[in-house]
Amino acid sequence: MAEAAAAELNRQLPGRVWRRQLRLDRVVIGVAMACLVVLIAFPLAMLLIQAMFPAGQTPFQPFGDTFAARSNYLAILDSIVIGLVVCVGASAIGIPLAVLLNRTDLPGRRVFEALIWVNFFTPSYLVSLGWTALMQRGGFLDLTLGHQNPFATSFFSPWGIALVLTFKLFPFVYLAASAGLQSIGAEYEEAARVSGAGRFRAWVRVVIPLLRPALLAGLLLVFAEVISDFGIAATIGQQAGFPLMTLEIYNYVSSFPINFPLAAAMSTFLVLSMGAALGVQGLLLRRRSYQVITGRGHRPSHIQLGRWKYPALTGTIVVFAVALGAPFTASISISLMQNIGRGLVASNFGLQNYASVLADLNLGLGALWRSVQLSVEAATLTSLLSLVVTYMIFRWRGFGRIVLNQLTVVSMVVPSIVMAAGYVFAFNQDWLYSIGIAIYGSLVLLLLAYIGQQVSMAVRLHLSGLQQISGSLIDAGQVSGARMLTLLFRIVLPLMKKSIVSVWLLTFVIVMFDLAMSEMLYPPGEPTLGVSLIQKFGDLGNIGTGTAMMMLAISFVLIVVIVINVLFRPGGRTQSSFAAARRL
């Protein structure tokens, strides 16, 4: 009797049963799920189908073809060898630099650290275009040496590729080694010294072994970056006639002879290699973090450089002069020359290239403006979608959460060029046209591809931001009587402001300078910034406007970054959260 009465009472009271609230959030979640399926799952599934069950071939044949033709397996081998060489080179620069900047009294440490971040965020093709402007026959070095540049041909070779990649990617080793050095503190070294080891032995026997997992993790990241890089493969690699895996994939999708199944098989192979490298790296980092990271503050030791001070400083300056100085000096100088053929004479300098880019839509302003629009749209939509997905991962329990979590982790491993290939396979299909979806070859598809490629990183960034928010802040809101939407708008979103700004900014910059997806998916006659730059740099007659356009784009992005930093003050979050999402 009493129980029946109580049950009746509960029926009258609001909030009965495991009832979902408001319909609106079901709609929002449904839309978000559909977006993930269309933007990530569908293209990747089509890529796999293309590789495993190609039309008109026996299943899995493309995998065999990949290793049957010499040019194909050479590309894979080349990528791997270059990857290993760059690992060695990047360690040779990154490790000493990490020790110098973290453990010594080298002057100007802060400036160098800032430059490392600049190098880290600079898109690889901008660097390699700078090198092209410097090194090619008739380029900047030729002009300064009176057309006697001894490296004009030899630079465009595997060695040149390795050199540029090494100086582009050493920040990964640097950051890994720095994180390791900061986390192991001075006490281990001091304990070794007190036990009777000299400074050298203390480093060799104690500090270096402690650093090993961090370094190995950093190197795996470098390797993954090399084999997935498209910017350098498509510029110096192309000119050198030295095909790397990413360029092969691009060629099989975009130029004669087209071979979708082969491109898909190579893509699969590339993704698996990336997954293996990053998976091992993740394991290493997890093991490291529970070994040496403690809650206690560490007091770093500082080595007095003494008479080695100036040699060390010179060496450091040389590294940055090569990494950033050389390519950008060449680009800036050329952008200021009215006619590169007239060489380094005072009357040849002026702002004419800038004026022509800004005056003429066809010369470059059109592409620049197109990229600005696309990156603003992509950044905004990616922020919105990633927020909803993050909320689902954060609040859901069980199977759905695991699936979403894994989807975002896995798709972060997929290189842009592979994702772009997936979009080609997925959206260039007859049945889509027949039901009226003809977005292939339009800017809409390019925009969708940008979002699909960026949303996973955005979700990981949000999640790392959310980890800093105590769960009790949300519990307190719920106990106070707030429902899901109120919680979201009153508490969760305001607390996530910084990570939202960071995500927007990062997506904006990355999409603005995207090359791989744009090359594969841009509509004919409507090039984006990256596509247009590659075209212009390929021709000495246009390199002046090309460099000017590059400088305008960089200046514009810098202004946006500064303005947003002043307005919203995300502070160091963008950098550190990006590094965290890349698991550095």
């Binding site: 049950a7 909030g15 609230q21 307190a476 719920q478 106990v479 106070s480 009587g481 009153r490």
Partner: protein, 361 residues
């Protein structure tokens, strides 16, 4: 409001946090859930709040069932109309004090003027009426705590949940807040459930105490009762330093028993039938050192001083009264190591419990 929890079980994955707990929190009282970390006290509290979905059981506020696995009822936390104070205060850093406190009223769509007066009343109760425009990070730890209290009571809930609210304050402040919380809860005449691992906090604040261990209830009762009449070794040890002397039990009277070991005998009080061997439990504070010719009014135990430590306000010594009779005592004066002395304590201060199969500490 009376809170009734019946056969509550909670698990996280394969790990069971709470196992078949039944308890009643009488209306208008402060009930303390006391236990070591991992005993399930916070899980019970979060289940009452609705922040945690139990595996099984029923939770009732008066006649309103807020959770029942059997009837598939699970009222979400925002509809349970309760106030909660969190261990880390959980003040929203992007809201001013007044907005933090007013939040429970705003989400209930109370009229603006109403919100303003109620927020001010709540802030006055915790003496923070002048800090309404500040942000949480501009306040001291004690002030933040008071804001959390004001937010928990502003919507005039009938039930207040406190999740170790004092553990992030320093010692002096903690004692002050303890008294203030008790005054406030009594003044508002609301029911409170207070989770803590600090036995002093539980003893001084609660009118009912529930001692938990490994997801189960060990003992329920009033503070005085639990402190002086623990039913098992775990409860006795958890509520402060206690001396345990284990020996053979002999029944003398209704509840009076004699416990004897090799070379020693004590008289104590007991409930229940003892199976022959038992623990005699005596708090060090109940033990007094006898003068040379003084005659004991209760138990009289001859012991030898083994080791000691200076605690500032007094000395603590470890003394030996024979096998299974090593005890701790406090002394206002220093004692010579190796010297013999006599201890006395009344039979009322000696609680005898049976030796359990498994002893947890």
């Amino acid at each position: 409001m009376e809170v009734v929890v019946q056969h509550l079980s909670c698990s996280f994955g394969s790990k069971t946090a709470v196992e078949d707990v039944t308890l009643t929190v009488p209306s208008g009282t402060i009930t303390a859930l006391l236990g070591p970390s991992g005993c399930g006290k916070t899980t019970i509290l979060r289940s009452v709040a609705g922040l945690n979905t139990p595996r099984d059981g029923t939770i009732r506020f008066n006649d309103r069932i807020v959770f029942s696995r059997e009837q598939s009822i699970n009222v979400p936390p925002e509809r349970r109309d309760l106030g909660m104070i969190f261990q880390d205060f959980a003040l929203w850093p992007h809201m001013r004090v007044a907005d933090n406190v007013g939040f429970p009223l705003r989400v209930r769509h109370a009229p603006k003027a109403d919100i303003r007066t109620k927020v001010m009343t709540a802030l006055e109760m915790v003496h923070l009426e002048h800090e309404a425009h500040r942000y949480p990070h501009q306040l001291s730890g004690g002030q933040q705590q008071r804001v959390a209290v004001a937010r928990a009571i502003v919507s005039e809930p009938q039930l207040l949940l406190l999740d170790e609210p004092l553990s992030s304050l320093d010692a002096g402040l903690r004692e002050e807040m303890r008294q203030e919380l008790v005054r406030l809860i009594k003044r508002l005449r609301i029911t409170a459930i207070h989770v803590t691992h600090d036995h002093v906090e539980a003893l001084s604040m609660a009118s009912q105490m529930i001692v938990l261990n490994e997801g189960r209830i060990e003992q329920v009762g009033e503070p005085v009762d639990i402190y002086s009449r623990p039913t098992n070794l775990f409860v006795a040890k958890f509520l402060g330093v206690v001396n345990v002397m284990t020996g053979t039990v002999e029944k003398l009277d209704d509840d009076v028993v004699r416990v004897s070991g090799p070379g020693w005998t004590v008289i104590g009080k007991s409930h229940g039938v003892l199976n022959g061997s038992g623990h005699a439990l005596i708090r060090p504070t109940s033990m007094r050192i006898l003068g040379a010719d003084e005659i004991s009014e209760g138990n009289d135990l001859t012991v030898r001083v083994i080791e000691g430590a200076y605690h500032g306000d007094r000395w603590q010594y470890e003394v030996d009264g024979g096998r299974d009779a090593r005890v701790k005592i406090f002394s206002d004066i220093p004692l010579a190591l190796g010297s013999e002395l006599r201890l006395c304590f009344p039979a009322d201060a000696c609680r005898v419990i049976p030796v359990a199969e498994t002893v947890t500490s």
